[in-house]
Symmetry: C2
C-alpha cells in the first residue's frame, strides 16, 4: 500500500476514535486495531504520537473544507450569492451524522487548542480562510443588491462564524435540533438580506 494513503487510513481511524471516545481514546494500540494494521505500521508512518495527532487535525480541517467547498458552485453566480452563503454556512453545522462526528472531533481539538498556543495558531489560520470565503460571498451579494450595502463583509463574516460555532455546540449538546439550527441561521441571515 502507498505511504500517503496509509497515513490517511490511519488518520481516519484516529478520527473515528476521537469522535467516539474523545482525545483520550486515541491510543496507538486502539488506532492500529481500528485501522486494521499493526502498531509498527503506525509508528513507521508517524515517528511520534504528537505528529500523528497533528496530522489528524489537518485531516479534519481538510474534511471540513471539502464539505464547505462542495457547496460553492463551480461557476460563480453572483445572483445566488446569498443562497450560496447560507448553504456554505450550513455546511459547517453538525446537521447530519457525518458532520456531527466531524464536529465532535473539531470540539475536541478546539479544547486542546485552548491550552496549546501552537494548535490555536493552526486553527486560527483555518478560521481566517473560512472567514475570507464568507466575506467574499457577502461582498458578491452586496454588489448585486442582495445584501445590505453598508455592512462590513469581514466583520459580518466573523459574526456569522461565531454564530455557527455556537450553534454547533448547542447541536452537540442536544439543545438545538438540525431544524432549529437551520432556522436560527436563516433568521440571522435575514438581517443581511434586502428583499
Amino acid at each position: 500500500m502507498d505511504h500517503d494513503s496509509r497515513r490517511r487510513q490511519i488518520a481516519r481511524a484516529v478520527f473515528d476514535l476521537i469522535s467516539e471516545r474523545g482525545m483520550e481514546g486515541a491510543t496507538l494500540r486502539d488506532t492500529a486495531a481500528r485501522a486494521g494494521v499493526s502498531m509498527g505500521a503506525v509508528q513507521r508512518c508517524f515517528s511520534t504520537k504528537e505528529q500523528m495527532v497533528a496530522f489528524v487535525m489537518e485531516y479534519m480541517n481538510q474534511r471540513i473544507t471539502d464539505r464547505v467547498q462542495a457547496e460553492i458552485p463551480d461557476t460563480a453566480n453572483p445572483a445566488t450569492a446569498m443562497t450560496t452563503l447560507e448553504h456554505t454556512l450550513a455546511a459547517t453545522l453538525a446537521l447530519d451524522q457525518p458532520s456531527r462526528a466531524e464536529t465532535r472531533v473539531w470540539l475536541a481539538f478546539t479544547a486542546q487548542a485552548a491550552i496549546d498556543p501552537a494548535l490555536a495558531a493552526v486553527q486560527s489560520e483555518e478560521y481566517a480562510g473560512l472567514a475570507k470565503l464568507i466575506a467574499l460571498l457577502i461582498s458578491a451579494a452586496q454588489t448585486h443588491g442582495h445584501a445590505h450595502p453598508d455592512l462590513d463583509p469581514d466583520q459580518e463574516a466573523e459574526a456569522l462564524i461565531t454564530l455557527t460555532d455556537g450553534l454547533n455546540i448547542q447541536l452537540l449538546l442536544g439543545r438545538h435540533t438540525p431544524g432549529s439550527a437551520r432556522t436560527a441561521l436563516h433568521h440571522r441571515l435575514n438581517g443581511l438580506r434586502i428583499n
Copy 2:
C-alpha cells in the same frame, strides 16, 4: 478540616489543573499535590475519579452561576433591564484572566459532554437555567419599552447564549479580543433595543 471544604479545596485544584493542562492533566497524584494533600485524602473525599470529575463540573457551574448572579442587582430595576442583560451576558464571556480559566474548563467539559450523554444532560440543565434568566430580563425590558415587543424572549435568549458560546471559543483561540467581543455583544443587543 471540614469535609465539604476539603472537597471544594480539591475541586479547586482539579479546576486549575484542567484549566492549565486540559482534562488529561487531572490525575489523582497531581491533584493531591496541587491541593497540598495526600492521595489518600483525595480518595477519601471521592470514592472514584469519575465522581471527583462530576463534582468539579458542578463546582465549575457554580462559579459561572455566581459570576452571572453578581451582575443581577438585588432590587430588580426594570428600567435598567437592558443594561443588566448586557452585563449578565458579558459575565459569561472570557474577558479577563479568571473567566478565561473558567471558560477553558467549560470548553474541556463541553467536549466531554459531546461524547457523554450523561454530562450533556447536566450541562443542558445548566443552560436551561441561564436561558430562563436571560429570557426574564428580555421580558422585563419589553414591558418597559426598552426592547422590541414582538420578539420571543425564550427564542432570543437561546440566540444570545449561542452567541456567547461562539464568542468564548473565538476569545480562547485569540481571534477575538475582550474589546471586540464586548463590541460584538453590544452590537447584537442593538438589534433588540428600541431607542
